[in-house]
């Protein structure tokens, strides 16, 4: 394993700071490793009531009656509520995610239908796991005892699990106020794809499926709420990725002023998108705390997390590639069907990400893509690490492999012939990006990514081994996949920096951390921007009181948005400090420099003053001296960073696998990743992010699938059946990187939280298909379980 973090990055790009580019050990780790984390379950609220939810056992049914009489008399029960009891609260909508950006609306006029979700189901249930009633009791044990006493009569309805069936003319409608089961639809065209297909030398036409799998954060969701009787304020602790949005949604639902709701996301044990949306439990728990006048807790268990927290990834691509004789792509057509599950939770986010990332690093002059999001009787689907990109990259890269096979061109060669070149940057694809602007790749060097991946993976060595034939029924194969990722989604993120009289610096950012190490990386940025030592900085995130505005840690956006907000706030604070020092020292500010927390005049031996002296010096006991021309010692700045466009990260993965003809087992012999996320703030954290993403991607490629029966019953509702890879299943990764700084922000950074998860499905499918070339199989779907691999070989043998 090559350790990218062994090298520090002081020489990279436009960074000449002393902290950025160094593998500073994470300040979080000492505390977390000693068991001093503060997850929602660590917040002790004396006198709290625990909630447990009664969830639908049916995938689609009408609720005929709910009887809570017996449950109400069970020991320890404080309250039992059904849909009728909370009917006065508005149904839930993820408003921010469902909003279509004006530019997108004007250019493509997408269809986005709202399906507000009742906080507790009243008339119908639409998926197994939907909350029907809530029991509030003295503890979770008693609450679950009482759940068994709630009697619900259901009248089962026809169940739709397959999204293509759900689009059928006679399909039963999930939401009776809608004309059909379409939740979103959008289409785009570039050039003249019909003419290009008509005149093409080669055409590949395939149906690929991305299968459903889920995030599986190590900490399941959890919410606690308490009303402070002194102030009347409502405090909510939630493991959310978007605390400010949750605050506003709670305020809206409960009819409160946002300013009276305080949301805290302290330590969060992984989010991956699953915690980036609103859930009804997050609204009902605060409601219960107010209505009962007691603190209320809810901790999701693993069954609930697997079956009733958001799912992801299920898409069908009917993709066609047209190419000339040299393998240059002349057109792409793709009809994408996205299984949304029972509710339209996040609108265009996933479908449009799939649409605008389909072309990836390739130059494609003629394009027709249409995407439909379809409602089915399955758990709702939302973004999960990669958010539409792993699915679309699977389809595109699989199609590239088929085209390579069709034309007899080495797959890496075919890719190389179609890559956008660095001298074409910024490159306009002709599509519209997610925010509604013409899509532009700001930077990147795709040929170099591929060149390095090819060199590391040793294509020639693999081909030589293939010529020797199988050994003991084991076939070797190699696969490649490339992707781009538009990172740093707006609209903004906030950073506020305060210098205390002691000289300590407090940085508050809107984006919370779910394990990304913000307390370390953001402090590195602030230390360089201000000119103070790293260890005088305290970082606060995920607290709506610390920053009144914020968006959240989703969509590979925190480093780009919060990082650059921090950088700008730090530069402004630095100016204030230097000006104050100039006045104090009686010199011109222009000749002063601030580094390591000390302001010095340019020449050696000149006057100097430390930040602590400057910020804390008081001429009279208790009365601080003005330092910035105004009253008080306040050295403080707040910046809302608005990215002007997307910072486009990119990567090339390659994998060499060995497939056992008899057992269908796939062993990863070599996994190569070359990525570009612009300037790197903390190489060790970056390596961890890439590694974690690839681990989740390998999970999806080989192990994980959320399986539904045709009756809408989840068949993988526990970790006995839903297989998350452990460290034993993840090979060492051969990692390399290039740096093309983003011109879209001062730091030149790009997001990289999701990147690792985007390519593994595609690259491993390509490698297995390549290994099984003697059998002439086509991999159209994952996960590549031994049973599925054997089925491919068997079908090929029977053909």
């Amino acid at each position: 394993m090559s350790h990218a973090s062994d090298r520090d990055r002081s020489d990279q790009g436009n960074s000449n700071g002393t902290w950025i580019g160094r593998s500073v050990p994470r300040v979080e780790d000492d505390r977390l490793l000693r068991g001093n984390g503060r997850y929602v379950d660590d917040i002790a609220l004396p006198g709290a009531v625990e909630a447990a939810f009664l969830r639908s056992p049916h995938a689609h049914a009408r609720i005929e009656s709910v009887d809570v009489t017996a449950a109400l008399t069970a020991p320890g029960v404080v309250a039992v509520w059904t849909g009728d009891d909370v009917a006065d609260l508005p149904a839930m909508l993820n408003k921010e995610e469902l909003r279509t950006p004006p530019g997108l609306a004007a250019l493509l006029d997408p269809l986005v239908r709202m399906t507000p979700m009742p906080l507790l189901a009243r008339d119908k249930v639409l998926y197994v796991g939907q909350p029907v009633a809530v029991v509030l009791a003295e503890n979770r044990y008693l609450a679950e005892d009482a759940l068994e006493l709630v009697e619900v009569r259901y009248a089962p309805l026809r169940v739709l699990v397959d999204p293509e069936h759900a689009l059928g003319e006679d399909a039963v409608r999930l939401h009776e106020d809608l004309p059909d089961n379409t939740a979103v639809a959008v289409a785009t065209r570039v050039g003249d794809p019909e003419a290009a297909f008509a005149g093409a030398h080669a055409v590949v036409s395939e149906r690929f499926e991305a299968h459903r799998y889920v995030a599986s954060p190590i900490e399941t969701r959890a919410v606690s709420a308490q009303v402070d009787p002194y102030s009347g304020r409502l405090t909510v602790w939630s493991g959310t990725q978007t605390p400010h949005r949750l605050r506003d949604a709670i305020a809206h639902t409960l009819g409160l002023e946002s300013a009276t709701v305080h949301v805290i996301a302290a330590d969060v044990g992984g989010g991956f998108g699953q915690k980036g949306i609103l859930y009804v439990e997050e609204l009902l728990v605060p409601h219960a705390a107010r209505r009962l006048g007691r603190p209320v807790l809810w901790r999701e268990d693993r069954n609930e997390n697997l079956t009733a927290s958001s799912h992801a990834r299920e898409q069908i691509h009917r993709i066609e590639l047209a190419a000339d004789a040299e393998g240059r792509i002349v057109a792409v057509r793709d009809r994408i069907t996205v299984n949304f599950g029972a509710y339209n939770m996040t609108g265009l986010v996933v479908p449009y990400n799939s649409l605008c990332h389909l072309l990836g690093p390739y130059r494609v002059p003629n394009v027709h893509i249409d995407v439909t999001g379809v409602l089915t009787n399955t758990t709702f689907a939302t973004p999960y690490r990669g958010a539409g990109r792993p699915e679309t990259v699977f389809a595109m890269e699989r199609a590239m492999d088929r085209l390579a096979a069709e034309l007899g061109i080495e797959p890496a060669q075919l890719r190389a012939r179609n890559l956008v070149r660095p001298d074409e940057m910024p490159y306009a694809t002709g599509l519209v990006d997610r925010s509604g602007s013409p899509q532009s790749y700001d930077s990147g060097d795709f040929p170099e990514l591929l060149r390095r991946a090819v060199a590391k993976a040793d294509v020639e060595g693999v081909r030589a081994r293939q010529r020797e034939g199988a050994r003991d029924g084991k076939y070797v194969g190699i696969g490649f996949a490339m992707y781009i990722e538009a990172t740093g989604l707006g609209p903004f993120e906030t950073a506020r920096i305060d210098v205390a009289p002691s000289g300590r610096v407090r940085l508050a950012i809107g984006a919370p951390s779910q394990g990304q190490g913000h307390r370390t990386s953001m402090a590195q940025i602030a230390a360089d921007a201000i000119g103070v030592p790293f260890d005088v900085i305290d970082v606060v995130g995920g607290d709506t009181e610390a920053t009144p505005f914020g968006v959240g840690t989703i969509a590979s956006r925190a480093l780009v948005n919060a990082g650059n907000a921090t950088h700008r706030a730090g530069r402004l604070v630095r100016e204030k400090i230097v000006e104050a020092a100039a006045r104090r020292l009686g010199v011109d500010a222009g000749g002063l420099d601030l580094s390591d927390g000390i302001v010095r005049a340019g020449e050696p031996g000149g006057p100097s003053i430390s930040l602590a002296e400057l910020a804390g010096k008081a001429p009279l006991p208790g009365i601080p001296e003005p330092t910035d021309g105004r009253h008080g010692t306040e050295i403080s700045e707040t910046v809302h960073f608005r990215p002007p466009g997307f910072a486009v990260a990119s990567g090339a993965h390659a994998a060499v696998v060995e497939v056992d003809e008899h057992t269908g087992e796939v062993e990863i012999l070599h996994y190569v990743v070359v990525h570009d996320a612009g300037n790197i703030v903390n190489p060790m954290i970056a390596e961890g992010q890439v590694t974690g993403g690839i681990a989740q991607g390998i999970g999806g490629a080989l192990y994980e699938e959320m399986v539904y029966g045709p009756d809408g019953q989840p068949r993988t509702g526990t970790y006995m059946d839903y297989l998350v890879p452990t460290s034993s299943e993840i090979p060492d990764l051969d990692m390399d990187e290039i740096f093309t700084p983003s011109p879209m922000n001062d730091l030149g950074v790009k997001g990289l939280g999701e990147g690792g998860a985007i390519a593994p499905q595609a690259v491993l499918a390509g490698a297995v298909e390549d290994a099984l070339r003697p059998f002439d199989v086509v991999v159209r779907r994952g996960p590549l379980s031994p049973s599925r691999v054997r089925a491919l070989i068997r079908a090929a043998a029977d053909a």
Partner: protein
Amino acid sequence: MKPTSFDYTAPSTVGEAVALLGDEEREAKVVAGGQSLIPMLNMRLARPELLVDITRIPELGRLHVDGSGKLRIGAAVRQARAAADGAVREGWPLLAVAIGRIGHPQIRHRGTVCGSLAHHDPAAELPTAAVCLDARFVITGPRGTRTVGAEDFFVATFSTAVEADELLTEAVFPPLPAHHGWAFEELTRRHGDFATVGVAVVLERDTATDTVRSARVVFCGAGPVPVRLPAVEDALVGTDVGEHALAAAARVALARLAPADDVHATAEYRREGAAHLLVRACTTAWERC
């Protein structure tokens, strides 16, 4: 995922334990390592009123080789201890290897050998190893103590010859005489998972003819109990375990096995896998004879 209310007690003798299990007033369950029972309690798939913890009963903590050379493993003996025991590794290596394939170290340090046998998941390693090694099971209850052979012990998935008021106190493994070779092979989705399908094989070499004198072949993950296939054994007896003999045995296994589909694998995969593993296991076992 919270269990229903239950009482807990830890008796110090087998007599007390059996008396508690026989109490008709309340449903009792034996707990030792808890590696299967506790998740079942949490999912409310099991709802006993009383848990009888047998790990404090000194006599059940014994693991020893008796005067007649048999390995006796008491009901409270943890899997990790059995697998690490020198006598087990020396005399019953198939058992040690099968235990090594159970879950992860944490699970093997809590889980007991007899607990896995009494729980009887037919995809688990120990029931299949026990049938292959012709183990016997000592069961104590209100009607006294009885001994049951391995093939009568496993009745159906999660069901054994142990009645609700009885306790499996000991598993007894006869010694493997000279000229016996063994192998245990399984396919799993991940390291430590239950077998998608697996096989345990013991072959006896007739040194005069250099052919198989006797064979025991038992599959896991292939049915509701460990599946012993005498037809496969017959196909091996008298052969030199050469290519033809192995192919013939594999054909018999393919024809006779009728495993089920589940989310992990199709029945077809299991059949093919079992036949493939059989060849591998017989080859290894023959080399060890």
